[in-house]
Symmetry: C2
Amino acid sequence: MSESVTVEFDEDGLVPAVAQSAADGTVLMLAYVNEEALERTRETGEAHYYSRSREELWHKGGSSGHTQSVEEIRVDCDADTLLYVVEQEGGACHTGFESCFHRTLDGEEVGERVFDPEEVYGDG
Amino acid sequence: MSESVTVEFDEDGLVPAVAQSAADGTVLMLAYVNEEALERTRETGEAHYYSRSREELWHKGGSSGHTQSVEEIRVDCDADTLLYVVEQEGGACHTGFESCFHRTLDGEEVGERVFDPEEVYGDG
């Protein structure tokens, strides 16, 4: 029988979590997770993070509808990084792209735009 | 023409970098990168990181031979996380697995072991 892994949260109580598409392996985003966010993710099956800018629990897609249904949570060898394998509703990126990693470092667009952010987040 | 993206290093001069296999999309590892590591990566085409534990530039695979040939460097929407798309020699994980994310949070092994760490790192 396998034993549950103890996650090594850092001094701020956080670990980075990478979200990857279960469908095609695309790396969608990286955000941070605290103990509460991880618990809520396991309880609900939907990805939760901790927003460092808003300093609060963040249910991804809670307002946009672009939720992430978590198929599996993996942990790395040091237990200080998580991998959420997810089914992504809509797109992960607030800019309308499937992935937040939609540009190369040289600024070339390589990602796929999957929704119009104005329609999802805009006032109009 | 596209413009180069300015990376937003944190107060410690670091950003997290996710390494993903160009061959099959596997998320291999997460490590940290400072400006020097990023420059060395771009100059050499092989993944460099900053080792927070050893507090030094880290040429991945420099001793084990398990280098990462970088095909593309992507940056996320906030420019505070990198994605190295790589061809991995051997395995990314020092435990002998292809990926450092070889376990679920429940401790189930889901990864593929690709080398014997004793042979690569051991004394024998």
